[in-house]
């Protein structure tokens, strides 16, 4: 079966900096952290953590009240990002006559509508109410975001959600990519969103001892991937979306093509729920390169999973060294979670966008706050200030709790 090329024609996100996509990438390349400090008024003990919020995001304004009211906050982020990507792709919100019956959505979310249920529990257990709003069901369901996207854009094909912890949107994007490549879908809207500040969720992450500490003064520098003094990850809320399109379809309508998605590989460590293993990651990277028809010599940048946990970072570097061999020492790598945080199910989507923009604009954004490198993370070329120059192809890694690994490969549009 002949395979189609897959163009990336739309990019959109709710920027944690508050501006547009270009502003987001500019700040990222400048090494500017979007990490802030979150202090809530939760009972019995407030959350007090470094966190990435989108303070300028008002779903009632961006989406309109009737639509926003039918969605949990995770879906509001997703829908806002999707509108932005769709508009960026130059596609009309509703079909102007072209059949969209084979167009679909694959959306990633680790937590889905957790906030809706948490609100419900508060009503019942803290406020002594006996019943809950009937909308709780549609707000809480994990496919709420993709269902609304299918409705808003009139997409008649597959509409599915992927829940694979921190790799949720990598797998969503990969599965979407395969559907366009195989010819099953002409256009796939994909990406991911999450809202990890639900009280019960954030407390659970704290208990796992993987969250970096920080206060109002220190939070901006709290996430330091690969650094000798790293203390852990920083969670964030947000959403990011991509429009993947059959190459010929994109050309025929004169769409601007940001980049090409060329490979996807996914594996499972099948060994431990949270301890990552290089072997599973190595297989995922190799599968992706083979799927893309790329060799290690073709890769000019890797956007690392790089969460800044004690265990995760060295294992990822070990996997890259194993795959890239002699090339590893000169392989540019950066972990942008140091600035935009870990959006859980939205992470791989925002990092896919970063990787595509890096290829398109020929700029590698840095790993921020990387002072003294942990010797256990040495062996690749850590990019610590933005690097300019043409790039041919790049990978984006996502390695999840549960042992699921997913890697995406992108190529620059011929210069």
């Amino acid at each position: 079966m002949s395979q189609r090329r897959v163009a990336i024609t739309g990019l959109g996100l709710v920027s944690p900096y508050g501006g547009d996509l270009a502003d987001f990438f500019r700040r990222l390349c400048a090494g500017e952290s979007a990490v802030g400090y979150l202090l809530t008024d939760d009972l019995p003990r407030p959350l007090s953590i470094p966190f990435v919020t989108s303070p300028g995001f008002d779903p009632n304004v961006t989406l309109g009240k009737p639509l926003a009211g039918m969605m949990d906050r995770y879906a509001q982020f997703g829908m806002a990002a999707a509108f932005s990507a769709w508009d960026d792709a130059g596609l009309p919100r509703q079909s102007d006559g072209e059949c969209r019956d084979d167009w679909g959505v694959a959306w990633g979310t680790a937590l889905g509508g957790t906030m809706a249920y948490e609100h419900g529990y508060r009503e019942l257990w803290q406020r002594g109410r006996e019943r809950l709003s009937p909308l709780t069901v549609v707000l809480g369901m994990n496919n709420g975001a993709n269902a609304q996207m299918s409705i808003q854009f009139g997409l008649g094909g597959v509409s599915m959600s992927h829940t694979v912890a921190c790799a949720s949107s990598a797998i969503a994007i990969g599965e979407a990519f395969r559907r366009v490549r195989s010819g099953e879908a002409t256009v796939m809207l994909t990406g991911g969103s999450d809202v990890p500040q639900a009280y019960g969720v954030a407390r659970a992450w704290e208990a796992l001892r993987v969250m970096a500490p920080g206060d109002a003064e220190t939070s901006a520098n709290a996430c330091r991937p690969f650094s000798a003094d790293r203390r852990g990850l920083v969670l964030g809320e947000g959403g990011a979306a991509l429009v993947l399109e059959d190459w010929d379809h994109a050309l025929a309508r004169g769409a601007r093509i940001h980049g090409e998605i060329v490979g996807y590989g996914t594996t499972c460590d099948h060994s431990h729920l949270v301890r990552p293993e290089a072997e599973g990651q190595i297989r995922a990277i190799r599968l992706t390169l083979a799927d893309a028809g790329l060799s290690v010599a073709d890769i000019d940048y890797v956007n690392a999973h790089g969460t800044a946990t004690a265990e995760g970072d060295p294992v990822e570097v070990a996997a890259l060294k194993a795959v890239f061999g002699e090339r590893a020492a000169s392989l540019p790598v950066s972990a942008t979670k140091s600035m935009h945080g870990h959006l859980l199910g939205g992470s791989a989507a925002i990092e896919a966008i970063v990787t595509v923009l890096a290829l398109r604009d020929g700029v590698i954004p840095p790993t921020a706050h990387l002072g003294e490198l942990d010797p256990a993370c040495a062996g690749v070329e850590h990019v610590t200030t933005a690097r300019h120059g043409p790039l041919r192809a790049a990978l984006s890694n996502s390695f999840a709790f549960g042992g699921s690994n997913a890697v995406l490969a992108f190529r620059a549009v011929d210069l």
Partner: protein, 79 residues
């Protein structure tokens, strides 16, 4: 009278509908009240006035029908 102000508040809060458009002759569907929003409106009404709507209730089509229904139930619950 209480019913119309509840409906106005609800539609303003949830759907951004201006109160002056919420008049007895207005069709609920045209104001943006679909079956899901109707359930939510009924829920809010039950909550506010401590009444219970019958399960086999015929859904009102206009604001006026909704007001009549609600006023009837409130009167019933008070008597």
């Amino acid at each position: 009278m209480e019913s119309i102000s509840l409906i106005r508040d609800f539609l303003k809060d949830r759907l951004g509908v201006e109160p002056e458009n919420v008049v007895p002759g207005a069709m609920l569907a045209e104001l943006g009240v679909d079956s899901l929003m109707m359930l939510e409106l009924m829920f809010e009404f039950e909550d506010r006035f401590g009444v219970k709507l019958p399960r086999n209730l015929k859904a009102p089509r206009t604001v006026g029908e909704m007001v009549t229904l609600m006023d009837g139930l409130i009167a019933q619950s008070k008597s």
